[in-house]
């Protein structure tokens, strides 16, 4: 990567994240990016919707991989709880929305962390409110992942699918439709580097050039 281009479209962090200047990231101190993650323009990442109650004790290593802007003030919590975690080589397309899941639990409405694994692709205008998104997951464009849904590794969400809240998509399964159902399985070679499902590095490489 050449030395910082003066005013490129993307900000590249130390860990190699490429974040569009036109993306809307709220609550950066509650977001952990694993590195080499691409966030495109107009993507909305709601790190401000973190779990406010003190019962969450899972705020882990915020130091090394955190992209939290040093200039951003960390006002309230001494140990900021993590709202959104994104792994390596994940790709958030334009106008996608990542929002931590929420639910009413014991009379209290609270947010839960959203964990996104490695090599995940989130398509354009997709809305992700999942609890967990595994590795190598593909979320098609304009798909909606309902609150507290779980997408296991190598799950494939077709374009425009509406994954119902709380749904679990097992590994290697293809879901589609509204509400989403399991409509098939991806082949065994899915996720092999360079083939379908394994294009994350290539996707990352071409961004911002």
């Amino acid at each position: 990567m050449p030395p910082k281009a003066p005013k490129g479209e993307y900000i590249e962090t130390d860990t190699g994240n490429k974040i569009s200047r036109r993306s809307q990231i709220h609550g950066t101190q509650h977001i952990i990016l694993g590195g080499k993650t691409v966030i495109q323009a107009d993507a909305v990442i709601r790190g401000d919707l973190y779990r406010s109650s003190s019962s969450s004790s899972s705020s882990t290593n915020p130091s090394t991989t955190s992209t939290s802007d040093p200039s951003a003030s960390a006002p309230s919590a001494p140990t900021p709880s993590v709202a959104i975690t994104i792994g390596r080589y994940s790709y958030i397309s334009r106008q996608a929305i990542l929002r931590p899941p929420s639910r009413l639990h014991r009379g209290v409405y609270s947010f839960y962390p959203l964990k996104i694994g490695d090599h995940v692709f989130v398509g354009e205008r997709a809305v992700v409110e999942a609890a967990t998104v595994g590795n190598h997951v593909h979320i098609g464009k304009e798909a909606v992942i309902g609150s507290m849904a779980i997408l296991k590794d190598f799950a494939y969400v077709l374009d425009g699918a509406v994954v119902a809240p709380g749904m679990v998509v097992p590994s290697w399964c293809v879901v589609g439709g509204a509400p989403a159902r399991i409509v098939g399985e991806v082949g065994e070679g899915y996720g092999v580097e360079g083939a379908e499902g394994g294009l994350a590095r290539e996707r990352y490489r071409v961004v911002g050039r």
């Binding site: 309902g146 509406v162 399991i182 082949g187 092999v192």
Partner: protein, 698 residues
């Protein structure tokens, strides 16, 4: 799942061998040649079969084209294996919702549905969540309310059918208890639902209480209470049990000579025996199947049908239909009260109304291992645990065949200026990216085809393509460098240590005739490639500042090679018809053969619009291997409409790869031979490159 352009599909060779004949399998494609040097080459018979170009539009092509990641590779047959040439075996059953494994014995006894808390919404099929109704926080422990299943998608809940659960666990048993036993619902409210409760269902199991055939309970046989129906499950069990008993009663005890025709049951081999004997009266088969059939045919004892409700017979009430109709017509039902066909298809057949819908326990899914159909070797064996994504064995085709990727070569302004006489290229400079969803007809497009080798041996690849794509929309295709090498997928460190020693044994044998339907341009380009095999390794040039040259690979890396395809999309029928008609008026049609591609002129882009018509003529004339339609009669073609997806530009490419592989265990007997450590291998298949969609306008 259709893919966005560009894509590459690979045709499994099994489509060419329709009969699963092991000898035929061996004949095809791949052969370790060292084993039979004196015999005629086993590759020979496929030559005539390969004379015909693979047509991606033929109806059969649908059944052989697969995306590369779906294909497997059998190391024993040395053959690509598609989902049609494998068999599957279930490794484990699991619920896709809770991801718990269900033992197969339980699947057999209880059916393939999750026995836990997993349900699907009967109204919209989304998964149901267990929710509490009351959220009373009383001290430390809270929320002891009744529980319901509710759908987060359509807001359906079991309250709609009047069901609440006492505890949040074991919903399935609670539900089945409710639907069978408890009189929660009024009968006149929902007749079919009320029928679910029956006096019989208080029995723990129908099977135990079932009366022996012939002796019926008088209480239920009596006509004055004809419908004490069972719920559907119990009725099914009753019927099943009844017929089982009927069979065992009417068929033989072993001492009974009369029942021999039935064997021990209908599903037993004896039944097959009986069926076979219906058609073959000859003595050959009956001697084959034992002497039982030689006995004089006797009339089998007559089985009776189920007669009573306890046997599973259901006699609907005489006014049942009327009641349903009246209810449908009633004011409180309406359209929304009726269950849709889709909803009913998952419910018991009696369900007609929305308020009869029951939550559906989630269907289980399976993990399956896969075997080669011809040699029974295991190709894929996943880990047993449902959650695991790993495989114990996974022989995917991508590890063996080069992975094709296609992308358009977008000419930079610099490059297009270098194209001589690029009359059409001037416009492409304005549009920097090629729109693959609307390729302009007759305007050449250059595409980069990258083949990436995943084997540890260097591979030499020969590509061949028909000069004109089959079908009515004839696009011209040239592979500028149809023969090239791909380096081995060696360790990155190996290459670093070796320095500049490139992993190519350069093209020594150009005599390898390109199979099938290579165009003249392609073969000559191959010869050109042989003379200068590595001339086009990218120097310090930028990626897109080069100009594609015939006979040279575009770019090359450790284990991949990129070549350039030049495509001139054809015109759609009726697409540019008006212009052509005008041109036909202006100039006489040339019947002479005009080669679409010339060797010296790699830039065939100089075809202007005016001679496109003659080009089409010439292509159908010159390429005899393509079952071309009569393009000269295009204007008078009655079928001017485009067939669905006829405008998709798909290029069939024949790939033939050769490599020297390490000798494997199956060649142990050939130890004494000097060249025993490497075996020349060869694999050939068709692939289809989906380039894009041809637009209507020029």
């Amino acid at each position: 799942m259709s893919r966005p352009f560009p894509y590459a599909y690979i045709s499994c060779p099994c489509a060419n061998t329709p009969v699963p004949d092991p000898s035929k399998k061996r004949r095809s494609r791949e052969s370790p040649q060292k084993s039979n040097p004196d015999q005629p080459k086993p590759l020979l018979p496929i030559d005539d079969e390969d004379e015909q170009t693979f047509d991606p539009r033929s109806p059969r092509a649908n059944f052989s084209l697969y995306p590369p990641e779906q294909l497997l590779y059998c190391e024993d047959c040395h053959q690509i294996k598609c989902p049609r040439c494998i068999t599957e075996e279930i490794v484990c059953w699991y619920c896709p919702n809770c991801l718990f494994e269900t033992p197969s014995s339980m699947v057999r006894s209880e059916g393939n549905r999750c026995a836990r808390n997993c349900f699907n919404c009967p109204s919209c099929t989304a998964p149901l969540a267990v929710n509490t109704l009351e959220n009373v926080v009383t001290g430390g422990t809270s929320q002891q309310g009744p529980w319901v299943l509710s759908c987060g998608y359509c807001m359906w809940s079991t309250l709609d059918i009047g069901i609440k659960f006492d505890k949040p666990t074991n919903i399935r048993t609670q539900l089945s208890k409710m639907t069978e036993a408890t009189p929660v619902r009024s009968r006149q409210m929902s007749r079919t639902f009320g029928e679910l409760k029956s006096p019989l269902s208080t029995y723990s199991s129908i099977d135990e209480q079932f009366p022996p055939p012939g002796e019926t309970k008088p209480a239920e046989d009596s006509p004055d209470q004809p419908n004490i129906p069972l719920n559907p499950d119990a009725r099914f069990n009753a019927l099943k049990n009844f017929y089982k008993n009927q069979i065992s009663a009417t068929s033989s005890s072993p001492t009974d000579p009369l029942g021999m025709d039935f064997g021990s049951g209908f599903s037993s081999p004896g039944a097959l025996n009986r069926i076979m004997s219906l058609y073959t009266s000859s003595s050959r088969l009956s001697s084959l199947y034992g002497g039982a059939n030689k006995k004089p045919k006797t009339r089998p004892p007559v089985m009776r049908e189920a007669l009573t409700a306890s046997e599973g017979l259901k006699v609907p009430a005489p006014d049942a239909e009327d009641a349903v109709i009246q209810r449908i017509a009633g004011p409180d039902c309406g359209w929304d009260g009726l269950a849709s066909l889709e909803q009913r298809s998952f419910q018991s057949p009696d369900v007609r109304f929305v308020e009869d819908l029951l939550p559906l326990p989630v269907l289980l899914r399976t993990k399956r291992s896969k075997r080669c159909k011809s040699c029974k070797h295991i190709l894929v064996k996943p880990e047993l645990k449902p959650q695991s994504t790993r495989f114990r064995i996974r022989l995917i085709a991508l590890s063996y065949i080069p992975l094709p990727t296609l992308r358009p070569l977008n000419p930079s302004p610099h490059a297009t200026s270098a194209v001589p006489a690029g009359s059409t290229a001037t416009t492409t400079t304005t549009t920097t990216t090629t729109n693959l969803d609307a390729l302009s007809p007759l305007r050449p497009v250059q595409l980069l085809l990258t083949l990436k080798n995943h084997m540890f041996d260097p591979v030499r690849v020969t590509l061949a393509t028909p000069s004109v794509t089959p079908g009515r929309v004839a696009s011209k295709v040239t592979i500028l460098c149809p023969q090239f090498d791909i380096g081995a997928n060696s360790d990155v460190w190996d290459e670093a240590l070796q320095g500049a020693a490139a992993p190519t044994a350069s093209t020594t044998s150009t005599s390898t005739s390109t199979t099938a339907t290579t165009t003249a341009a392609a073969t000559a380009a191959a010869a050109a490639a042989a003379t200068d095999p590595r001339g086009s390794r990218s120097g310090g040039l930028g990626m897109y500042e080069k100009v594609a040259e015939a006979g040279k690979v575009w770019d090359k890396g450790r284990n991949w090679t990129t070549v350039v395809l030049e495509v001139v999309p054809g015109t759609l029928p009726g697409g540019v018809r008006r212009q052509q008609q005008q041109q036909q008026l202006q100039k006489p049609k040339k019947p002479s053969v005009v080669r679409g591609f010339d060797l010296d002129n790699t830039n065939t882009n100089t075809n202007t619009k005016s001679d496109s018509d003659s080009d089409n003529d010439s292509d159908s004339d010159s390429s005899g291997d393509v079952p071309a339609l009569d393009w000269s009669g295009q204007a008078s073609d009655p079928r001017q409409q485009l067939q669905p997806d006829e405008d998709v530009l798909e290029i069939p490419v024949f790939v033939r790869m050769e490599w020297d592989s390490e000798n494997q265990i199956d060649n142990e007997h050939a130890v004494g031979r000097p060249s025993a450590d490497t075996v020349k291998r060869e694999l050939a298949y068709w692939m289809v490159l989906g380039v894009g969609r041809i637009g209507r306008v020029l």
